[in-house]
């Protein structure tokens, strides 16, 4: 735990759970036992929804797997409860893994509906299998006893549960604040950008899903011992809805919300079961669902952040206010410039391919959309330590080329070789793993993070603390410090130091663009793809960026640039490729491109409503570029 609020929370919870039972009647302690057990399951579900952006509508299935496994191991095989619990949680996670492997590749609603189906399946299997006790289930599960105590009263059982939930909370909080939590938060803001920074979305989501199944399984274990009976109802839909309501009411992704939600929903449940039959005479069965459904709907419409959002609003931690203050301070002090003005090489790296050796090799790259050919049979190579510009009129296929090279879209045909390995059709995180990354023409800012938070995601591949070590907090702190300091270094290179702690969404357009470049550089790439990096920048910022790119080139980095600002491109690039209507019509040094008849024709042929192209034609024809890039190096 890093935050003081977590420490306060843990102390409060310990006080309530340890001292509470002495002060309240047994019936309240009894309800509190269920509240804590359900909260454990809901913590996992909250992580799944908040971090992975996915929802399970059948989380009771994992709960039931844990409960049944524990019941069978303890009653039939007389296995020690602790060992049985490890097996039970492991089995719940295994089921989660098997369901998650095919489904987490797809959009969110498939996992939701499939888990809903899983709940039904588990119920069917439980009812149909004599070994599982069919409809009557398994009974006679003993209350746990160890350390000379039998945990058989609500008060005793709450004390047994206390260390479990506290540990569950600490592990989950550590995860949310870790490198993994940061990466998943980025995925929720922009999956494609997180992927191009090396975040393997699918694997991380799968891990969180399996973890959430584990939390549900653990809750099932304690449920089995407390109720002494496990039957097919423990997988039923009403219970899954209850878990979901706890997580949603508390606030998605907030661990503490799930704990508060657990108590709120349990007491609501008890209350509704008593009150509804009074209002509707003769009502029986799952009458509490009326309240669950209505509250779930109301929360989603009026309070999507749940009780957590309401609490923050009350104590004035509202995000908007903070960002407004941030804006005020920076309007006074902004307009930073790169901290150092020297022209030496930057971000050189041991083991980088030698300048002049081929880094990227594109062959026959083609993309068809229906009958339209957006990119047609494009070939080019890029060497380490050179800047290649990709220019052409609007709709020429430049961004589509970038998308195919970086794995955002798969080519219809052709190949992309990066450092000698074929990567076309692979996901963007594979591109990033080969030390290559990109920025986006349509900005892909991680809007829920600060500038520093954005750039730290870029360090994802240059740090290694995984899910388990994140949760345990092992070595994570030192690494977090290293990630933050190297990220601040890169932020300084782009002249964004003043803005480092501002919410990224508050930055003006041009500075968001520079932040994307910083984020990309944080991955320490050998190959950098920049999609219109100059758009929205001031004249001074453009010059600074050009200087930076030259210094990166001097350090041995290869850069491909899509840019509308032809003047800047001809000044900067070693070689220029010209696309027109998906076809590469020229590839050569800037002075060759300047006089290439096909290029002139292409630019002259464009319609007048593209002022940048018209300006470019003018520049090309008159040769008014400020300096000749050929003589630069």
């Amino acid at each position: 735990m890093k935050k003081p609020s977590d420490v306060v929370g843990v102390i409060l919870l310990l006080a309530v759970l340890l001292l509470g039972p002495l002060l309240v009647p047994v019936s309240v302690s009894g309800a509190a036992v269920y509240a804590v057990i359900y909260a454990i399951a809901a913590i996992g579900l909250s992580l799944l929804m908040g971090l992975a952006g996915q929802v399970s509508l059948g989380h009771a299935a994992f709960f039931a797997v844990g409960a049944y496994t524990q019941a069978i191991l303890v009653t039939r095989y007389e296995i020690n409860g602790g060992i049985a619990a490890v097996v039970a949680v492991g089995l719940a996670m295994l089921v989660g893994l098997l369901v998650g492997i095919p489904l987490l590749r797809l959009r969110g609603h498939y996992l939701a509906l499939a888990t809903l189906g899983l709940g039904i399946i588990v119920t069917v299997i439980a009812i149909e299998t004599p070994f599982l006790g069919a409809t009557s289930g398994i009974f006679g599960i003993p209350k746990p006893d160890f350390g000379g105590r039998v945990y058989d009263s609500p008060d005793e059982y709450l004390w047994l549960l206390t260390p479990v939930i506290v540990l569950g909370i600490i592990l989950a909080r550590n995860l949310v604040d870790s490198r993994i939590g940061r990466a998943l938060g980025a995925v929720n803001d922009s999956e494609v950008a997180a992927e191009t920074l090396g975040v393997d979305t699918y694997r991380l989501r799968l891990k969180v899903f399996v973890l959430s199944a584990g939390y549900a399984g653990l809750a099932g274990v304690f449920f089995a011992h407390w109720l002494a009976v496990v039957n097919p109802n423990s997988a039923n839909f009403a219970l899954s809805v209850e878990f979901l309501l706890i997580a949603v009411l508390g606030g998605l992704g907030t661990v503490w919300g799930a704990v508060v939600g657990g108590f709120a929903v349990e007491f609501l449940d008890e209350g509704l079961r008593d009150v509804v039959p009074l209002i509707v005479p003769g009502a029986t069965g799952e009458v509490q669902l009326i309240g669950f459904g209505v509250i779930l709907t109301l929360v989603m419409i009026f309070l999507p952040g749940g009780l957590h959002q309401a609490f923050r609003g009350l104590v004035g931690l509202d995000g908007r206010r903070r960002s407004r203050q941030g804006k005020k301070t920076t309007t006074l002090t902004s307009q930073g410039s790169p901290e150092s003005d020297d022209e030496g090489p930057l971000l050189a790296r041991e083991g980088r391919p030698a300048p002049g050796s081929t880094l990227l090799s594109v062959t026959g790259l083609t993309k068809r959309y229906g009958g339209v050919v957006a990119v047609d049979d494009v070939d080019f190579d890029v060497m380490a330590g050179e800047i290649v510009a990709l220019i052409g009129p609007n709709g020429a296929g430049k961004t589509t080329c970038f998308n195919m090279i970086s794995g955002v879209t798969a080519p219809s045909s052709g190949s992309v070789m990066l450092s000698g390995e074929r990567i076309d059709g692979r996901k963007p995180h594979v591109f990033a793993r080969h030390r290559a990354t990109r920025t986006f023409q349509n900005l892909q800012v991680f809007g829920s993070a600060t500038v520093l938070g954005n750039v730290m995601v870029g360090r994802h591949l240059r740090s290694r603390v995984g899910l388990l070590r994140s949760m345990l907090g092992l070595a994570a702190r030192a690494e977090e410090r290293a990630i933050a300091s190297s990220s601040r270094g890169v932020i300084g290179l782009l002249g964004l130091t003043e803005d480092a702690d501002r919410p990224a969404a508050d930055l003006p357009f041009g500075r968001q663009r520079l932040m994307e470049v910083a984020r990309a550089l944080a991955t320490e790439p050998d190959l950098l793809l920049l999609d219109e990096p100059m758009a929205g920048l001031s004249g001074a910022e453009r010059r600074d960026l050009a200087t930076l790119l030259r210094r990166l080139r001097a350090g041995g980095m290869a850069i491909i640039l899509v840019e509308h600002d032809v003047e800047a491109v001809l000044a900067l690039a070693d070689r220029v490729a010209v696309l027109d209507d998906g076809v590469m019509i020229a590839l050569g040094r800037p002075e060759e491109i300047r006089t290439d008849p096909a290029v002139l024709a292409a630019y002259l042929g464009v319609e007048d409503d593209d002022p940048e192209a018209v300006a470019a034609v003018h520049e090309l024809a008159t040769g008014t570029g400020p300096e000749d890039a050929g003589g630069e190096r």
Partner: protein, 289 residues
């Protein structure tokens, strides 16, 4: 062999119900990218409303009409009150929101109609036997009405201005607005269509499989699986998906164990999603990610 055909007939009849629910999923998803988890509740609700109307002495056709119109109204009100006010509708939001509505509707039915399962009287006609296969009149009604309704829905989307505009809404919201239909109004109409389709399914199914407050859960899930076979957007594929799922279920129930009937849909869902996430019967081969 007559066993086999007997199972297929029963499966087709059950599958037609799934097809009607599946068309409802596709109608809403293709316009607004929302998965409406209350789709099954529309069916259960229609059955229960018609049951209480016949219980009050009304003739069956009148009771059915009342049920149809009431459910259509509920669907429109649901969209207006719960879907329309949400500004940022993500997949996650839409799932939790419609789950909330579906849960509330379920509980409301439990409170109003109680927990018992009941069935509407079957539509008129006598059962008969062809080549050793006995066919219930209700089976023919179900298949006939489903095919007519499916034809009408396909005609609506392919041939009428309003139907084409609805489809356009999903792909080109701006263009759709230009021809005078706002995405919000399109979503309302889609919910109305989905409500009516679900209600027809619920009314037809009730004499055979009975209706109770939570019938909508499995009906909804199976309708979704059927719609998934068509990639969630194609009406034709949704109908085909429903029929195939119904037959598969009947065969599993007949030859393996009737207890596993409800497991079929889930297995089919996983297999389809692994093999062809864009749908088995649709030409669009890749899921839009």
């Amino acid at each position: 062999m007559s066993d086999f055909f007997q199972l297929v007939v029963a499966g087709l009849s059950q599958g037609a119900i799934y097809a009607l629910i599946a068309m409802g999923f596709a109608a809403i998803f293709s316009v607004s990218e929302i998965i409406n988890l209350a789709q099954g509740e529309f069916a259960a609700m229609a059955g229960l409303i018609a049951l209480s109307a016949t219980g009050a002495g009304l003739p069956l056709p009148v009771a059915m009409l009342i049920a149809l119109l009431s459910v259509g109204l509920v669907a429109v009100v649901m969209q207006r009150v719960t879907i329309a006010p949400v500004k940022r509708m993500t997949t996650l939001t839409s799932i939790i929101l419609t789950l909330g509505v579906s849960t509330a509707l379920k509980a409301l039915m439990l409170l109003i109609y109680g927990p018992d399962a009941r069935g509407l009287p079957a539509l008129p006609g006598s059962n008969f036997v062809v080549a050793g296969v006995s066919i219930r009149a209700q089976d023919l009604w179900i298949l006939g009405i489903t095919l007519v309704v499916a034809g009408a829905v396909i005609f609506f989307y392919d041939r009428t201005v309003l139907g084409k505009a609805l489809r356009a809404c999903a792909e080109q919201p701006v263009a759709a607005r230009l021809v005078g239909i706002s995405p919000r109004r399109a979503t309302t109409i889609a919910f109305l269509i989905a409500g009516l389709l679900g209600a027809i399914g619920g009314l037809l199914a009730s004499p055979i499989s009975l209706t109770q407050w939570d019938s909508g859960l499995t009906l909804g899930l199976k309708g979704f699986v059927a719609a998934t076979l068509g990639g969630l957007v194609s009406i034709r594929a949704a109908v085909l998906g429903g029929l195939v799922l119904g037959v598969l279920e009947a065969l599993v129930a007949g030859y393996i164990d009737s207890g596993y009937r409800d497991a079929v849909a889930f297995v089919v869902l996983i297999v389809v999603l692994v093999a062809r996430p864009g749908g088995v019967f649709s030409r669009q081969a890749q899921a839009r990610v």
